[in-house]
Symmetry: C2
Subunit: 405 residues, 2 copies
């Protein structure tokens, strides 16, 4: 039996680190606050008697021995947040994992396989792209050196920041090799709440495509330059932002499209923008549909740039195909959910998660709990305590079943 | 006879202060560089034997006595620049004014009326709005206290910055009362170059309307929030930017519209923007047409905000009706241009200028010289030396005629 109070207390304690005035958390990957959050989490792991290792990309793994020396069952997620994030995104999965360890320890239960709790570096991708960076490196999907040399918007590298906060560890990347992986997460969307369900049995993760466009125009005077002679970088950025909304409407409800970041320069009221740098986030559960949306985006961006006489270039910040989780582990999640008498449905995940990377190397699955109002990446992100407790209980049962297989 | 070499040398010397790597100048109003530029200009005025005063909004006036104790003829402009500006915008008018003083001094000519050269504070409006702030306060169009408490984007006030750079002076605002005002400026647009003309006889300044919009949406997860449930502040900003371009096309060539500044928050790839703050710069030579464009802008902004379920608010950063210069002074400029054998045309100004404020209190006019490629508010802003010389010569003749009236 999960101790709900202990779980909630730990969520609020970690939520103090990087807390924003008026609610929410800013613990961007590899910031000072992330470093403090890591210290807190590692201390908690040690209290629980876990053996803690840190690898070269900063992934933290806490390990508890099983009765046999086998590959561990891993519970994982992340503790980095977006700039204006909530208490639960990622943190819930890690702290529920530690709550599972604490519960088993207290009950004197040692399963057959070892249990591991992982904290993956930079899952959010808010500061450094791609997202899920730590787990992607862990499974060999991104070379370590490439990840370490990634820059944030100020040109600071992952390596510099890892060293600065003291989290570039010595453990070999990708160790331990794991038996299976389970991640508990808030849904971050409105589906479970709208359907009045308690648990989401996650079957997979939709495809993610992140592109950064740079529009190079010509700065000039807003009061003297005839409209026909302009090369306005801001206009083209705005046209693309409007286009992707229309595109998603045209392609139907499963095609998501967002322009979330945009920077103009010189960014002054009476100067036609010389440069616009902006991102487009496209998602679709269907691989071919996502590729089609990308093609339409690029064709439109080229056409809009040409019409305005500006130059446009792009780079891919992240590109992940849709992922299907292991049917057996998904079934196991469903069985344990049923056994606990929880209402549920099978569903895909809209957000990217470390589980989609671990799925490349071991049987993996996820468990969702409802998000109030479907809000996430928002300081008012919330999940009811009873839902938090239920999710952790499902996690405990699933992990026990996997570890005793 | 203007000394062209001395004029060019002084333009390049002042252009060193705040010089950007690779060309151009960043001397935003009341920055350290603006302070150094002021020091340099005041030193040059003192070298020329002028009596220098600074008023409470930081306007600098250098005065040379006439043979009679009458209100002076004032030559003026500004030395602040946008963030990525050129060598000539404003600086040319001030330094050509000092060149006129130097030329008359060397020739031993003392006209009937005193001559004044003015450097007005924050003409650009790039850092603090409204633009033409110093001259507007000078003519009583903006209360001093209101101007002093204006904040930049970081919340720093005009007063704080004036004191910091040592340019909040003791002279009464609006002194001296002037007889007439002439401003020489680069055109900053493509008209004179395209028509192959040497001088623009400026008849007036078009109307200027600057509005800052704040869109308040709801941040949420880009991967989990269905399109239909979004309240995307960035989308509405982009829609307005696209709309104003269409509006200007629909209303015809004389309606200019620019979104030059736009800031999103939290400004992250996978977070739907919670807030967008952006500016719209509308200009028209026709007062009624400008008001009509403003009405259409506000109606569209409301409608777009409503469709997306976001809140939109706005504040006016600057609003100036079209201005007609004094017909007699305009005629005088035309006569002197003809007398010097320069090709010219009468034309309106697209950019705002201190002359449009002085026109409220005394007969005023302006002289334009061509801008290469119509570029301004751009580090590659350029005017040919022969054009710079010609403009200064016209200024000298006009000022002499006014001062001996
Ligand atoms: N869980 C989560 O918010 N991950 C961030 C990556 C994404 O944008 O989906
Ligand atoms: N001359 C000039 O560029 N003034 C700045 C004010 C404006 O935007 O027109």
């Amino acid at each position: 039996q999960i101790n709900a109070e202990r779980l909630l207390t730990s969520l609020h304690a970690l939520g103090q680190i990087g807390a924003l005035h008026g609610g929410g958390v800013n613990r961007l990957a590899l910031s000072d606050a992330d470093g403090q959050g890591r210290d807190w989490t590692v201390a908690r792991m040690r209290e629980l008697g876990m053996q803690v290792t840190v690898d070269a990309i900063g992934n933290i793994v806490g390990l508890c021995p099983g009765t046999e020396d086998l590959p561990p069952v891993m519970i994982g997620s992340h503790i980095d947040t977006v700039r204006t994030g909530g208490l639960y995104d990622g943190n819930y999965g890690v702290l529920a994992g530690l709550e599972v360890i604490a519960t088993l320890r207290q009950a004197g239960i040692q399963p057959r396989r070892p249990l591991a709790v992982a904290v993956f570096t930079n899952e959010e991708g808010a500061r450094f792209q791609p997202d899920m960076m730590g787990s992607l490196v862990y499974v060999g999907g991104l070379p370590l050196q490439e990840a370490l040399s990634t820059c944030d918007a100020d040109g600071v590298t992952v390596q510099t920041e890892l060293q600065r906060i003291g989290y570039q560890g010595m453990a070999p990347v990708g160790a331990p090799v794991v038996d299976s992986y389970v991640e508990l997460h808030i849904e971050q969307g409105p589906v479970l709440e709208q359907m009045g369900l308690q648990i989401g049995v996650v079957e997979g993760v939709q495809g993610i495509s992140w592109t950064e466009f740079t529009v190079q125009g010509q700065s000039n005077h807003a009061g003297t330059t005839p409209m026909a002679l302009r090369h306005d970088a801001a206009l083209v950025a705005a046209q693309v932002a409007v286009f992707v909304r229309e595109l998603s409407q045209r392609l139907g409800g499963r095609q998501l499209a967002t322009v979330g970041a945009l920077r103009l320069s010189p960014n002054l009221v009476n100067v036609i923008a010389q440069q616009a740098v902006f991102t487009v986030d496209l998602r679709n559960t269907n691989s071919a549909a996502l590729a089609q949306a990308e093609r339409e985006l690029h064709a439109y961006a080229q056409q809009a740039a040409q019409a305005e006489g500006v130059h446009i270039s792009h780079r891919t910040l992240a590109r992940f195909e849709p992922v299907d989780f292991d049917p057996e582990v998904v079934n196991l999640v469903e069985q344990q959910t049923q056994a606990l008498g929880c209402s549920y449905q099978r569903m895909p995940s809209g957000a990217g998660h470390d589980a989609q990377m671990l799925a490349r190397v071991c049987p993996s699955a996820m468990i969702f709990v409802p998000s109030v109002g479907g809000l996430s990446h928002n300081v008012r992100e919330h999940t009811a305590p009873a839902d938090l407790q239920r999710g952790a209980q499902v996690l405990l049962q699933v992990v026990l079943a996997l570890a005793n297989r």
